[in-house]
Structure formats: C-alpha cells, structure tokens
C-alpha cells in the first residue's frame, strides 16, 4: 500500500522525464514544498526514462516509480513514444503517467489520452500557479488515489 502522507513511511518514488534543467529544479522545489517524502528521479530524455524503468544499464537498482511525470518534447525519444512503451509493458502500464508539458495544443491533448496517459497538465507560466499545480498532483495522485500493488512476480 502506497501512502505519501507520513514522513516515517517508505519514500514516494517519482520519475520526472524532463530535458529542461530549469523545469527540473522548479519541479523539485515545488514537490519538495508539497511533500518531503517524495524521492525524485530525473531522466533527461526518453531513452534514459525507458532505461530507468526497465533497469537497463547502470539502473539495476532503480526503484519502480509510484508516479511518472512525462514531458512530450524530448531529445532522442519523445514523450509519446515513451508513453506507448510504458502502456505496452504489462508491469509498467499500471504506473500513473502524467503528461506535464508547456503545450496546450488540442492535438497533443487528444493524442496523449489516446495513448492512455492518466492525465494531461499544462505547465503554468506563473510560479504561484505552478506550485499550486504540483501541490494538486501530490494531493491527488500521491495521497488520495488508491493504486494496485505491483505484482512481485512480474517485476522486471
């Protein structure tokens, strides 16, 4: 049972897939403010993200994330392809995957939901709004939502 409300519980593992260092820092700051129990992992492109999730290369000890924050426009392998691979993978597909991007183009929104994204969020320009959004993510996805326990036998 995952729960992020108490400091003494196991840390909450969040994977942020984001190529902008500025955004990584902002998200880290905002998440830290919202929930000290969050343990943030960062992948700077789609390939790194899939390596982390499948524990490939140097990621043999990588934890299974409780939540994935995925940007769409990424180098090497973009967010859409990452989304396709996550949702095609039986053990990964139950991890809530949130699209967090600057785009608010209708086409991107539609495509993301078609590829089974759990929700689509646009990054607000204002810091206050961004902090508020991250807080909402924590309150909902990391606190209120009940998620299935990962099946141990199926863990990669």
């Amino acid at each position: 049972m995952t729960s992020g409300s108490a400091l003494d519980r196991a840390p909450i593992e969040v994977l942020l897939v984001e190529d902008s260092l500025g955004d990584v820092r902002l998200t880290r700051e905002a998440l830290h403010e919202a929930n000290r129990a969050v343990h943030l992992h960062v992948a700077f492109d789609g390939v790194e993200a899939m390596d982390f999730l499948t524990r490939a290369g140097s990621n043999t000890r990588a934890p299974r994330p409780d939540l994935i924050l995925l940007d769409l426009n990424l180098p090497r392998m973009d967010g859409r392809e990452v989304l396709v691979q996550i949702k095609a993978n039986e053990s990964l597909r139950t991890i809530p995957t949130i699209i967090l991007t600057t785009s608010d183009a209708e086409a991107d929104i539609v495509k993301s939901y078609e590829l089974q994204a759990n929700c689509f969020l646009s990054k607000p320009v204002q810091l206050d709004a961004f902090e508020s959004l991250v807080k909402s993510i924590n309150d909902f996805w990391l606190t209120k939502v009940k998620l299935p326990q990962p099946v141990e036998g199926r863990l990669p």
Binding site: S20, G22, L26, E29, T102, K123, V125, Q126, L127
Partner: protein, 626 residues
Amino acid sequence: MLSIEARYRGLLEAAPDSMVLVDANGQIVLSNHQAEKQFGYGRDELLGQPVKNIIPVGFAERLIADGTRGAAEALAQQIGTGIELAARRKDGIEFPIEIMLSPLQSGDGVLVVAAIRDISVRKAAEEHLSQMEARYRGLLEAAPDAIVVVNELGEIILLNVQAEKQFGYRRDELLGQQVRAIIPEGFAERLIADGTRTAAEALAQQIGTGIELSGRRKDGSEFPIEIMLSPLQSADGILVTAAIRDITERKLAERHLAQMESRYRGLLEAAPDAMLLMNTDGLIVLLNLQAEKQFGYRRDELAGRPLRTVIPEVWTIIADVKQRVAGALRSADNSQAQEIGAGIEFNGRRKDDTDFPIEVTLSILRTVEGVLVTVAIRDITTRKNAEARLLQTMQELNRSNEELGQFAYIASHDLQEPLRMVASYTQLLSKRYKGRLDADADEFIAFAVDGANRMQLLIQDLLAYSRIGTKGTPALLTSSESALERALVNLGGAVEDSGALVTHDSLPEVLADPRQLVQLFQNLVGNAIKYQGTGVPTIHVSCAQNAQAMWAFSVRDNGLGIDPKYFERIFGMFQRLHKREEFAGTGIGLAICKKIVERHGGVIGVESQLGQGSTFRFALPGAPAQ
C-alpha cells in the same frame, strides 16, 4: 330584152351566191335559182316583186328613185361591197346577208346587180367570238395586275382598268399609244420590230417572267414594276400580253431587308468577339474581321473549312450540339436566335499552329438558307492569366496564413518556454529573497517580474488573436441571446464586483461561430464594465434587422466614453487609451472583436462622446432565407 335575159341567165345561174337584178324602181327584174331557194320562192316567183320584199331595209334606198341625187352620184353609191343587211324569206323569217352591188348599164336604163351571201354562219361565229371576247375581257379586268396588249409596232391595243389606274391614264388616252409612254425602257426593245432578230428568237425573248423595269405614270412619276410577257398569235400577227405588277412595296421591303442585313453585318464586324457562322455539317460559312485577326486567317481561307480547323477540340461537343439543334427545332420557341451553349472553354488554334484559350457561345440561327449555328469566340488569354495570377496569389496568401499559424504555435510554445523560466525564477527570487537583499535588488527583481508578466500577457493575447482565424469553426445557426448569457457567466466576478446592470432585448439567431460570438459579447460587455467612471455600469444590448438583411447589434453603456478621434485606433492591435496604472490589459480586446466580426462578413464601429457613454455596433448575417 330576151336576148339580154338569155345572155345573163347563164351567168347568174352559174354564180355560187344568190343574185338579183333590180331596176331603178326597185323591182326585181331577174333572179337566179340560188336566190329563189334562199328566200323560199318558186321558179320566177320573184320577178316583178319589189326588192323590199326580200331586203326590207338598206337596199332599195340606194336606188336612184329617190330623186335627190344625180345619176352619176347614184351610180357611185350603188357600187358597194360587204354591205351587211337583213333579208326576209317568203315565210317571214329574217337572216343576215352581205350584199355586193354593181350597176349595169342596159337598154332599160341603169340596173343594179346584187350578189347576196347568207352570212348566218359567219354572224353566229362573230357573235360567239364577241361573247368570248367579253368573257376574256372580264378575265382581263378581273386580273389583279395591270395588263396591256401590245402589237409588233409597240402600240398598245388593249388594256385593263388596273393599267388605267396604275398609270393614271384613261383607256382612250392609251389605246394606240406607244408602250414606251408607260414603260420607257426594256419592253419595246423586246418586240420584233428591231429587225435584228428572227421571228422565232423574238418570240422566245418575248416570253419572260419577273423582268424588273420602271413604269412611268401620266404625271411623269416613276415606280418599280415587274412584268411578265407572253406572246399571243393572232389574226393581226404576234401580240404580246404584258402583265405589269407594281412592286413599290416589295422594293421597299427589299431595301429595308438589305439595310437590316448591312446593319447586322455592321454589328457582326463591330462585335468585339470573333464570330463564325457554321452550318449543320460543321463547316464555316461566314466569319467576321475579329475572327480573321484572332486566328490569323484570311476570310476566304476559312470559309467552307470545318470549324475544327480553328477549334480542334470542338468534336467533343459536336454530338451534343447536333442534339440541341434538333431539340431546339422541335421546340415551340421560334425566336430567331437560340442559345444552346455558353461559356464553353476550349483552346483556339491560329494559322501558325499556336494555341490560345477561348470561351465559346453557341446559338441557333434560323435563316432563309436553313439552320445555322453562330459561334461567338472570346479570347480569354487575359482572363486566364489573371485567374492564374489570382490562384498564385491565393496560394501565396494561404502559405503566408499557414506561416502565421505556425508563428502562433511558435509564440505559444517555443517563446513561452524561455519566458516561463524568466518569469518563474524571477518570481522565485522575489519570493525567497525579498527583503533579504538591499532595496535596489528588491526593485530590480520587481521590474523583472513585472516585465515577464506583461510579456506573458502579450503573447497570450497575440495567440488568442491569431487563433480567431485558424481555430474558428464554421458558422452555425446560433442563438445570440444564449451567447450573451454565456459571456455574462464568463464575466461573472467582474459583473458582480461592479454591480453592473446588464439588460438586453430579445436577441435573434445568427450565423456565427458560437465560441467567437461568446468572446465578442464578453469583450464588449467586459470593456463596458471596465471603462467605467464612478457610477454603476448600465449596459443594454439590442438588435434590429438592417437594410442588408443583416442583424445589427448595439452594446450601449454609460461609461467614460471615447474621444471620436480615437474611433479608428481603438480597434487596432495593442492600442490603449489609458495608462497601465489606470486600466490593466494589453489593448487586444477590440482588435479581437473586429477580427471576429469581419470573419463573419460584418463590420464593427463605435458611437461615443467623452463622458457620455459608448455604443458599439456590429452586424452579423442572419439565418439563410428559407
């Protein structure tokens, strides 16, 4: 006496006619057997009878016995031939005779020998003839044309009443006159009398119909005639009957027709288009100057050639044209020219084998020579070039619109990305370090935060503006009243905070993009609330149909009002009339309104005076007519 009698008796009996010998007293002294038989008397029964018994009138009076003439005179008078008299038979029946008198000196004085011929048969024939003549005369007079009969000498010997009327003469003024008097030229020359032709040739020439000549009236005026000649063999030689028709009317009609034709020909030549006339076999029968010019042929090079010489692709419509011609001929429409095809585009081919674009209009033309097809050909090179240029311009415009759309995406995404960094981190800086650095640092950070915020608003508004064109949906029948209500909901807080009183008439359905209509009302009502003095905003939205069958909306407020010199400027992009400190905003709102209204084919304007409120007016198309 006996000797004389014996001498003449033989002669008398041998004569074929009746003969009587009469003395100066009018007594028959001798008669022959033919006379006794003719008059119904027995042998010698006539002797001693007065001649009046057999010839009651006109013979006895010629004898000397009247005592008024001398013997010589009487003698002269007694000589006569062909005197026609009436004779009386013994039974009283009378019959016509012709007598020939000759005096005879004898011992008993002057005797007169009368040879008497029964002319009953001849008279009957003559009477028949005169009946016939009367009948022919009737025919002659009944004829609609003037008829004159002319002899070999060119003299008029007979004419009818129409001839009198036409030429203005009385009959007796023309009889015996030269026919030249009424037909000065071309008729008399045809008669035999010129001596250069044989009788047969002349006869052949005298037969003629439709010879057009000039007639001359008694008053000297001339008029056009048509004569028809036919020779007539008669006892008096060859006569010529001339039927003369006054063709003044026909000539006038012909001249009118010729004028019309020359006028049409003038029109044809003056036409700006090339015109060809084609028969139903597809052969060119006539063409105008423009056709020569356009195709580079001389007229005679094209006449008789098939139309495909100049329009090679014309075969594609020939079957259709033939069908239409047949159809038009069957139809009740008898107008002279009937269009059977318009605006058909082809390539025309010049004599030098170069092609050029043409537009062809085909019409049926009914003429006396049968059905023809007029082919009006317009050189549309200029139009085609213009169309090509227009298409090119349209493509360029589309491309530039697409680029503008891409620019909007770049503005929304790629520009916002670094902007978000600037804004977020200056805000973070402000949040964490305000009051922990010196006063200058706080001020600098505040300017940076403000600048980033303004830039963000500008980019968002620019995006909203560009999306009106690129993100619009097709116009639907939309309730403008619902759109206004939706706009008021969207404005919610602003309406409540200001305590604005917004009223509206019953509003119609219009053809519009529903979301843009909401935005239009939202911007206009929002402005009316925003640009308010000290009072309570009072806003009224009304609508009426205008002369162009569009719905004319007005949004009236009691706000600050606008100086008329800014009426144009306020609809421009990022135009503001107030300091930022007074009223927030980038100045895009009315530019967006203008773009929305214009995209719907309408116009927007404002009426206002400073301090007296403003009325914004715009028109939108209504529901299409049923």
